[in-house]
Amino acid sequence: MSIVTHEIDVLSANALGLPTRPQQQALQRSASPTGGVALQLTGLSKRYGERQVLHALDLRIGPGEFVAIVGRSGCGKSTLLRLLAGLESPSAGHIEGLAGSDTRFMFQDARLLPWARVVDNVALGLEGADARERAQSVLAQVGLAERGGEWPARLSGGQRQRVALARALIHAPRLLLLDEPLGALDALTRIEMHGLIEGLWQRHGFTALLVTHDVSEAVALADRVLLIEDGRVALDERIPLPRPRRHGPAFAALEQRLLERVLQTMPPDSPPAPPPLAPVAGAALRWAW
């Protein structure tokens, strides 16, 4: 049914001479996987005043690769992601392979517009009469087909992040950047989200960069785990486990080894630092959600 009405829309738009090509391209893209971008980072540096956050980072990421970036708080992993998203500009060095509109960012907090219905949040930034229809179909992909008409305030934390995921996917990104999007969710919801993200990544074929605190999450999802330490890549490890990954001895051994390596980065003479508090989102302070 929806396909038929959709074709009529496109036809009538053509008859009126309206620009529909970008829409059609976007549709084709979201319908069939189109491989992700390949990235080449050369001498990438970022400093805030006196503080050097990234030190001449060199990195190659293959098309369609799923890379997890782990490291302690303040090691520069989020900064790297924000540079790739174009939210900030590097102090030195450059990034090859980026095409602005092909990159989408998933934030730690869902950042949904509280005054827009779920379906309109997903359709944010889309043009055309069929925007809502497309948003609805992407919502179905994240398992929220029934909730399109609700206000974001009515959703749980996990559902909000799924809406944010749908909002990113509708643009058929060739690079998806995920900045600890599951950090605030409970363990069961996280496992559910892992399956969802992996499935959508396999289906759409985008390149994915996931920043996470959770080594287990990195091992569950990534082809490759990078450890960033003081703004440098300290470890670059392939995860050879077959997908879908189940928690078994091989998984546990790999996770253990990576975790030990991450913990080594602690300066030997200082006492173990308390776990960092989850950052309070500005939104949560200002809006009585």
Binding site: G86, F107, R111, W115, G125, W287
Partner: protein, 262 residues
């Protein structure tokens, strides 16, 4: 033995808030009837109701209400419109804030009613003077709350919207303006309250028509019942304006859990 709590039925709990006003009304009626209270000081409620009825039937009342409401709304439209426009301007553009905000903050500290002598000198005692006073009074609550609303839109949402390709007018209408709405509506409610206060004062100074004129006229003829009708009308209109503002909140802030009806 479980302790039973007093749970009034729905009907009783709905009527409970009206119990005290009803009691006062009955006490008032009785005390004037038995001559404990001079009708010169306070006429009996029944006389007020009769005066209201007579004025309503003769059509005189509606004329006055119409004139007063017209003044209030025109003043609100001018002052509130300007407050909204300037608040959006200074809230959105840094240079506009630097240019205008400190001057406006200085003006804000002058109570509008302190300007009455000057206003009479400028505009005489005709319509313009009343509209000026009302406009000036409603301007500042709307200006301040609009400015504050625009400035307190969550920067994380703006960053998100920009990274999703929104900019300029689209960013403004889809993110900034909706984000400021709650604060702007607080300004509207403050303004509507001030609107009637200022109108009452302006109409009591001098007027040829309006509720204020009606009550001042009645005072000269010692018609205390008509004076009370005027006072009650102001209360009623004020309540109506507040209900209107709350209606707007319910319509425009449906998404906001704080304004949702259960």
């Amino acid at each position: 033995m479980t302790p039973t709590r007093f749970t009034p039925s729905a009907w009783v709990s709905q009527m409970l808030p009206w119990l005290l006003p009803l009691f006062i009304l009955v006490a008032w009626q009785l005390s004037t009837q038995f001559g404990w209270l001079s009708t010169r000081v306070l006429p009996e409620p029944w006389a007020v109701a009769k005066a209201f009825f007579t004025l309503a039937v003769s059509g005189e009342l509606w004329g006055h209400v119409w004139v007063s409401t017209g003044r209030a709304l025109i003043g609100f439209a001018i002052g509130g419109g300007l407050g909204l426009a300037l608040g959006l301007l200074t809230g959105s553009l840094r240079w506009a804030e630097t240019l205008l905000d400190s001057s406006l903050q200085m003006l804000r500290n002058i109570p509008p009613l302190a300007l009455i002598p000057l206003v009479i000198l400028w505009f005489g005692i005709d319509e313009t003077a009343k509209l000026f006073l009302v406009s000036l009074g409603v301007f500042f609550p709307l200006y301040l709350n609009t400015f504050h609303g625009i400035r307190s839109v969550d920067p994380a949402l703006i960053e998100m919207a920009r990274s999703y390709g929104l900019s300029g007018w689209k960013l403004y209408t889809q993110v900034i303006l909706p984000g400021a709405t709650a604060s702007i509506l607080v300004g509207v409610r403050f303004s509507l309250g001030l609107m009637w206060v200022l109108l009452i004062v302006a109409e009591t100074i001098s007027a040829q028509a309006g509720i204020g004129y009606m009550t001042m006229n009645a005072r000269e003829f010692l018609q205390t019942d008509v004076v009370l009708v005027g006072i009650l009308l102001y209360a009623l209109l004020g309540k109506l304006a507040d209900m209107l503002a709350r209606g707007l909140e319910r319509a425009w802030l449906r998404w906001h859990p704080g304004y949702q009806q259960s």
